[in-house]
Subunit: 683 residues, 2 copies
């Protein structure tokens, strides 16, 4: 039935004669390191590195501004490998250009435990790896944030300090992922002329020819989103050079360079087919490639002259970097200090005064308030205190309360602001925020409804894995959003997010806790965070003076039992905290000394020592946990004897009080449950 | 800074004179029901129903083939409201056309607990609601599955039995979501000419004018994906009629009808602005609309003549339906019975023989086998037994083992097959599968890596919520995938998926359990399921003869303790089950009577009675749970005294045995933990 049966090659297998023999030799360094490493590991993806080697060679040799000796130079050009499975392309480049922590031994340990060369590039594993890629489409979407970050920093600090490009390699898979559309649409809208993407148009994916599943005209698609598009032969070094030169001349449009390439370029039988995509090619295939490409070095050995030239590429940015450092030095002191502070990721000295001011405001007012509103109020204070905070929302600005009073909007071609209308692009927003955080000098936060954290999970996961300070502001965090109903009511989301390693998930229970959570989020530069906020108002529960951050240990005793040793512990978060407080009052009146524990951040509580944990949870096994979400995970704290009051199903559309009543999350129901728990332990 | 400040109207507010006064009156029925219901609920979205009322009127009056008296007629045209927040458009249509379970009282109870008119349309809440929508982009993506399902059923049963259209309304938000790109790309590729989409091109979203965040040329974007595109004035009834007629004539391309509309058409001050999008308009605004549109009926009252005409629309399909029923009756008996069986969602009488055959094959061979391979073998048997099973993969066919030996591929324009190359479009695939399941007559399953369940969570959630039989086949289900590393190694995914209400998450521990899980998945027509499968081989543990499905109760005692009452219970799933078996042997030798519990499906286990649960978990509190994933949720079974052996961090790239060793998921480590647990209970 297939018009194009799996496995049919769609690109010519024969190796075209190079325009520039020398550049081909340099590219072959990448090719052989890649195929030899994959062969040694008996695992990996040789096809993309071999197909894109010519492009990488011209880009790095003639355009990329970087200095292998200073991988963190802020004004370096960024290189993003969105088709992260082609990781050997990047590792080869890092070795060839002389990054100190990428000796050839690391290439030989490709895909082994403890190596700097895992299957897909991982941020912080080695210098020169700008971000973690592999899940398709994430790289192109994060690069939009990087390119935007460059323009925003440029708008603040000028051409002298920030003035670079973001180059992205991407494959067919990246373009098929929906997130790529959100990314290219946003990049085109914002006129990010410093973003230049190279599409490895090799017409092959894992199932076979891409024609099995896709018929898009990618050229027209990018043009429809405002990109400038060039089409070239990805093995023609002159064409590559000309295309990059042209792209760099386009100021107000991102550029796509569609590169027709042969996957596994150089393989005698696998080139141009999906057999080149993954897995070890086999000794015979590699021997064939050595013949075809005229390469007689043994595995992992680069001929001296070629290595020397590659090493020179790694050094060629040094002059520019020194000149930049000089310009930094000559920058007026105030601006220079601010620039250096921001790029180090340090917060301003007095930023906590903003948190204190917000707390004071809440306590003075004493009013009931939704935590999303409280968050908005905190942001109003933070906006003045931390200028590098960069807000936004996926088209829910008025609902998410993400925009501070005086925050100026970033618009196409105008980057001198700090608020972004991301559009209804939750996934693209989340990934762009990662890119902004990775760029340096900026602290991105962005909002949507908690339910739609599902739309951005792959990007949230990467933020947690990369340990970067991306801040997800997620409002309407339970059935408490009411009438929009189950499609919009998060139920399983808190559990699903708490399951992600390293992600700080915060759910404050009143305005003061909201301020505390913001403080905690901001002061952890190596932890991605998500703050879950209510749509509905709740009472102020924390009325004490002072600035002690009680949320800092993840959970704490909000109200201790009175009239005797604790007989019952109520544990709650967010909008259910005040229910616990009300229930405690009833239980106390019934003669049951009852404590209320607030647990705004499970992760931080788990990091405390056992003694503190026990002091909070109490000696009695009579515990009731209350959260308008699924139970999963709460068993840890309530044990066999305790009980959970929360959701056991999807929600329902209705008035908030009716919905809470329908699912039995009321003081009455909690009191009943609490009595049962206490009685069963006495009985 | 904004070039287009929030709130600026971009569409004319004045109401253009209608070409057809009568059609305008009919459309106004929708408009007033919508605004009155939103006003009464003090909540909702009047803008879209008012903007799209003219389109809906022409579509339903002159084209939609349906019979309100038989909402489940298989050959009806499908109507999908992808911009689900405009739910009052749909509820108005259902009431007006006379669906028995949608009296006007339900419209008056819009957005109240227990009503048939929740904030967003919910499948199974009322007849005529074809699917649950609200999370943006899902509707257009599911409609691709519906339209594809129609063609597949048509290919099997012919024009006489299956021959209808799928019409979709969608908004700007749907188009900004990445999933829409996956959907339109797939629909264009597959040449789904029976799919006709109407874009509510009103240039307004919640933050303000869409120009705040998007500059795409949507027309060119759709054309780039092979769609036929028409642009019309969405209030010009002649243009609407002509466009639909043209679209129905296009056989091999889906059609987008881009309809320029005024959001909140008829509102005196809010029309054409984002103020019309959400929230109750206020009595004054509605009074103004009554004046402008010349409408003097009280709220919820439709003038008799107009209602009569709408009711006639609800009946006009009756003749066609009777003729269809006649054709069904005249169909050769075998084909008719097959058609009726499939459309009822019933499995063939002898289908379980396929499961039994697969089991027998596994036991006879006795070989180690990855559960993904076992799943592939089961599918080979099922392919012959259940012809309505429709497979596919998001470009991982050889890895997911989703394609049965004789399965024929569906290709553009050729629908006489049962395997779909979905491309690297996990989200689009998941949503399309939902649409295929909703269409009726088909049982869709599709594969990707478990890690990329994150990419399709919004669609998985809807499958669970709609209680439809969509089957997600997710392989490479732990760090056991090895070299691809943490970006591809699921760690938190099992917990995150188990958190979704009603979703059956299965993780079989050997080939026989794999067959059992497939059996359980298929025999529950009202439960979405996800089966997590290993990349790596594991030993056959279930060697007994017979066909008893031990997995049916979610967990069971695989091996009971010997030599005395149980002193230790090991609970495991999937690829860790054989580790538990090995550890049991060691513990038994050490004189600790040890049982192994296999728990392939937590959800089914939770549905058992307490007594069974206790009998499986055992009396002793000494329990160790083993799963190469995060602990979240396991506390429920291990309690305070038990322990968990699994993952506490993201994974690592490396050989499988090295990775397991690195994270201490080995028999040695489990034995150490087991000894500790047993000792601590004795001490």
């Amino acid at each position: 039935m297939t018009e194009q049966p799996s496995g049919t090659p769609t690109a010519p297998k024969s190796v075209p004669a190079p325009r520039d023999r020398h550049l081909r030799d340099m590219a072959d360094c990448i090719r052989f390191l890649s195929m030899d490493a994959v062969q040694k590991a008996k695992s990996g993806h040789p096809g993309a590195p071999m197909g894109m080697a010519d492009i990488a060679t011209v880009l790095f040799k003639e355009f990329m501004q970087f200095d292998a000796a200073d991988p963190h130079w802020l004004d370096r050009d960024r290189f993003v490998l969105s088709n992260g499975h082609g990781s050997m392309l990047l590792y080869s480049l890092l070795y060839l250009t002389g990054y100190a922590d990428m000796p050839v031994e690391e290439l030989e340990r490709f895909r082994q435990v403890g190596s700097k060369t895992p299957g897909h590039p991982e941020y912080r594993h080695a210098d020169g790896i700008e971000l973690t890629t592999g899940p398709l489409g994430q790289g192109i979407a994060e690069s939009v944030g990087m390119a935007l970050g460059e323009r925003i920093m440029n708008a603040t600090f000028g051409d002298d300090l920030v003035n670079h490009y973001t180059y992205v390699f991407l494959g067919d898979g990246c373009l098929m992922e929906g997130i790529s559309q959100e990314a290219i649409s946003l990049a085109g809208h914002l006129k990010l002329g410093r973003l230049i993407a190279f599409w490895d148009n090799n017409s092959i994916s894992i199932d076979g020819a891409t024609s099995l599943s896709v018929s898009d005209n990618e050229i027209e698609r990018f043009r429809a989103s405002g990109w400038y598009v060039l089409e070239i032969d990805g093995h023609d070094t002159d064409a590559i050079r000309n295309a990059i030169t042209t792209a760099r001349g386009i100021e107000d449009q991102p550029t796509l360079i569609a590169c027709k390439t042969i996957i596994g370029f150089g393989f005698p039988t696998k080139a141009g087919t999906q057999k080149a995509h993954s897995d070890a090619p086999g000794e015979e295939e590699i021997a064939g490639a050595r013949k075809i490409l005229g390469w007689d070095s043994p595995p992992f050995v680069i001929p001296e002259e070629l290595l020397k030239e590659w090493r020179a590429i790694g050094e060629k940015g040094r002059t520019a970097r020194m000149a930049w450092a000089e310009r930094v030095k000559n920058t007026p002191e105030d601006l220079r200090r601010e620039f250096e502070r921001r790029t180090r990721g340090e917060l301003p000295v007095n930023w906590k005064a903003a948190i204190a001011a917000a707390r004071e405001e809440f306590i003075k007012s004493g009013a009931d308030m939704a935590t999303r509103q409280a968050s908005g109020a905190v942001l109003n204070h933070l906006f003045d205190a931390i200028p590098e905070m960069l807000g936004g929302s996926a088209d829910l600005t008025p609902s998410n309360n993400t925009k501070a009073k005086n925050q100026v909007e970033i618009t196409p071609g105008h980057y001198d602001g700090s608020y972004i209308h991301y559009g209804v692009r939750e996934h693209g927003m989340a990934a762009a925020m990662n890119g902004l955080a990775l760029h340096g000098g900026l602290i991105p936060y962005g909002g949507t409804f908690l339910c739609f954290s599902d739309y951005c999970r792959p990007a949230i996961r990467l933020a947690a894995m990369m340990r970067i300070r991306t801040i997800f502001v997620m409002t309407h965090d339970s059935i408490g959003l009411g009438e929009d109903g189950p499609t919009h009511q998060p139920v399983e989301h808190l559990a699903a997010l708490r399951a992600i390693p390293h992600l700080g998930v915060y759910r404050p229970g009143d305005p003061v806790e909201t301020a505390e959570c913001w403080e905690l989020i901001l002061e952890q530069p190596r932890r991605a965070a998500l703050i879950a906020l209510s749509r509905q108002p709740m009472p102020l529960l924390r009325k004490e003076a002072g600035t002690e951050n009680k949320s800092a240990r993840g959970a704490y005793v909000l109200l201790e039992a009175q009239g005797g040793p604790r007989q019952l512990t109520l544990i709650a978060t967010g909008s259910e905290l005040h229910l616990a407080v009300e229930v405690r009052e009833i239980m106390q009146k019934e003669g049951v000394p009852t404590a209320v524990v607030s647990m705004p951040c499970r992760l931080l509580f788990e990091e405390q020592d056992r003694q503190y944990q026990k002091s909070v949870l109490g000696d009695t096994a009579a515990r009731v946990a209350i959260e308008a979400a699924v139970e999963l995970g709460w068993e840890r704290y309530i044990g066999f004897e305790g009980k959970f009051v929360g959701m056991h199903d999807f929600g329902e559309s209705g008035k908030i009080q009716d919905v809470y009543a329908k699912f039995d999350i009321t003081t009455d129901a909690i009191v009943r449950t609490a009595r049962e728990v206490v009685a069963s332990l006495k009985g």
